[in-house]
Amino acid sequence: MNILEVKDLNMSYKTIDGNVDAVKDVSFTVKQGESFGLVGESGCGKTSVAMSLLQLQADNGKITSGEIIFDGQNIVNLSEAELREVRWSGISIVFQGAMNSWNPVVKIGEQIREAMREHYPNKTKDENTKKILELFEIVGLEDSIIDRYPHELSGGMKQRAVIALALSCDPKLIIADEPTTALDVVIQDQILNEIRKVQDVLGLSLIYISHDIAVIAEMTDNMAVMYAGRIVERGPTKEIFANPKHSYTKSLLESTPSVVGDKVKLQSLDGEPPSLISKEKGCTFAPRCPYKDISCNPELDMQLKEVGPNHYVDACNAEKV
């Protein structure tokens, strides 16, 4: 059962310098109970995708085309009131830099209760509090946190509290946008374990966004690689790691140093990601592709081609590679 199907999503931001196409023809599906990873460098559009799912992008951003089918319902054209119902109780988000997700003058417990009040208006304060305490237990927080202010908590505690917040309205899908980037590795490990535990216990679906390919490898069942607003490779995680087809994916994998084995010089790609304002047709990766040759036609309209079981690649010379 697919909990989420994204079809040909396009989203762009209007700026003084022109339209920035942050999300171009993005499609993927997430099955119930699975974890889906979205990986790419900074500015490739992965956060924009996440925001568009709940239409939380900045005021100057607009979904120009495409469908987002959540739990069987297309949520792109919903009214604001209907959208508000889906938010948090259907899909919730753990933001990047979640430390700043908290309103500094309101207690933690109150902020969580606020979300619950919005979606479960008939529950009493005690019922809500009880639930919050249960959630705290799952994520590993003490009971007393409920009456504390955000500045009294450490980074790791705030992060766990954010996860509790994300779970508070029993969502079916959680989007985790780089939830551990700002934390040190030890806490990172703990938090990742918490997330996995929570997912198992509650049967949630998860979209995990990161630029750290190692984390994606650890946490996800299926994944997609994004570059300059497009998905360039998509498929089961194990498959992609074993058999990367797109040059960018390959470079990404090669650029991660390994703790074991011989010391090898790290590979990196020349050049920079293109400006998202330009409306070039064809392969946006062409300028940096190490496999470019004369047959590479930059005018080609790119399409995803299947190269393996559920394994798609947005490349012109998939066969060659």
Binding site: L54, W88, N103, E114, P121, K125, Y149
Partner: protein
């Protein structure tokens, strides 16, 4: 928190002493004083002149006088007013203060509340057409040339339309055989307003614990209605029933000045609120609030406005500091005999004791208000209030 308070008190005392000394020196440096004018009377024998100087200690050197002054200050002894002899400055201040307080307390509360509301709405409607012209109108009502505006109001409502009285705070005819002095009435009015405000604040604080928001709103509304009914009863029993018509007279005279000043004063708060809100809106937790599925209104009021409240409340308390400052113009134009008018006249008439007394008083007032502002800010911002381990 207590350490903070303590530190502020200590600084307060130092600044206060500096203030006293410098204000005395300042006044002393004014060439001539009302005395000399009175004594210019050629019929007066020169011994009388010297006697007077001795009496007032004007022949002692500056340093001695400063010390004397400080000593007297704490005893509340300012000597006698030059012009209104034998009344003491303290008497005059005591007489005038309630009048100023009554007027400006009302003004500040109304202006602050209106300004906050408008600023909140303005910031939320960023970029829309109405935003620009409302902001521009607010700016111009903020910078309008106040004397001009006040005169226009006076002329228009008082003279042309004859709706409201021009100047003064009561109709002398009505008070011919009044059993009460105007001061008494003022004091009871102030007491009443204070009680009502305090009750309101308490209601607000206690209803914060009610979970359901619609219930909360209903309870607060009910309390408002109850207070209104109670006040009506209060003013109709016994002593106060007699005071009522006089109080009404004063209230009637307050309408125009309050309206005039509020129009000018609200804009400052509105603009400050708008700026602060605009900054707060860019914070991450607003995004989280949106993601939680809260309505725009809820986000605006409970998250953005709550955080914007801090600087705004601080500025509100600071405007209390400048109550007397601002009252000078209003009281002069509306002939409302209060503190502001007192100090203006005192300076113009060179009535040094009164001028010094009121000046010092204003300074003390400002200091205390400043102090309260600091403490309130520290209290309101939980980051300062609760300094605990992470």
């Amino acid at each position: 928190m207590y350490k903070y308070v303590f530190r502020r008190v200590y600084q307060l005392i130092i600044v206060f002493f500096l203030f006293l000394v410098s204000s005395y020196v300042l006044f002393d440096a004014i060439p001539g004083n009302a005395f000399q004018n009175l004594l210019l009377n050629p019929d007066l024998p020169p011994e009388a002149y010297e006697q007077v100087i001795k009496l007032y200690g004007l022949d002692k050197p500056l340093s001695e006088r400063v010390i004397l002054y400080i000593g007297n200050f704490f005893q509340g002894d300012f000597g006698y007013s030059y012009k209104h002899f034998p009344r003491t400055p303290i008497e005059l201040i005591a007489e005038r203060l309630p009048r100023t307080l009554m007027l400006f307390a009302m003004v500040n509360i109304i202006a602050f509340y209106t300004g906050f509301l408008i600023g909140k709405i303005l910031a939320w409607r960023r970029g829309s057409k109405s935003e620009t012209w409302i902001t521009v109108t607010s700016v111009f009502s903020y910078t309008i040339f106040y004397p001009w505006w006040a005169l226009m109001m006076l002329w228009f409502f008082g003279y042309k339309l004859n709706w409201l009285p021009i100047g003064k705070f009561l109709y002398p005819e009505k008070w011919y055989d009044a059993p009460y002095d105007s001061d008494v009435i003022f004091v009871s009015m102030i007491k009443f307003t204070l009680v009502v405000s305090v009750v309101q604040i308490l209601v607000y604080i206690y209803t914060r614990n009610i979970e359901s928001l619609s219930m909360r709103r209903n309870v607060r509304f009910a309390s408002l209605v109850t207070i209104a009914i109670l006040s009506l009863l209060y003013w109709n029993q016994g002593d106060l029933a007699v005071q009522k018509p006089y109080a009404m007279d004063i209230a009637y005279h307050m309408i125009l000045p309050i309206f005039t000043v509020t129009v000018v004063a609200f804009a400052g708060t509105a603009l400050l609120t708008r700026t602060t809100m605009m900054e707060v809106m860019k914070d991450d937790f607003i995004l989280t609030a949106r993601a939680k599925g809260l309505s725009q209104k809820r986000i605006r009021d409970r998250h953005a406005a709550r955080n914007a409240l801090l600087p705004v409340v601080t500025s509100f308390i600071f405007t209390i500091v400048t109550i007397i400052d601002g009252s000078v113009l209003t009281e002069t134009i509306f002939s409302w005999p209060g503190m502001g008018q007192l100090i203006l006249q005192a300076v113009l008439e060179e009535d040094i004791p009164v001028a010094m007394a009121s000046f010092s008083f204003i300074g003390v007032f400002a200091l205390i208000a400043h102090f309260i502002a600091d403490i309130s800010y520290a209290y309101l911002d939980p980051r300062i209030r609760i300094q605990s381990q992470g």
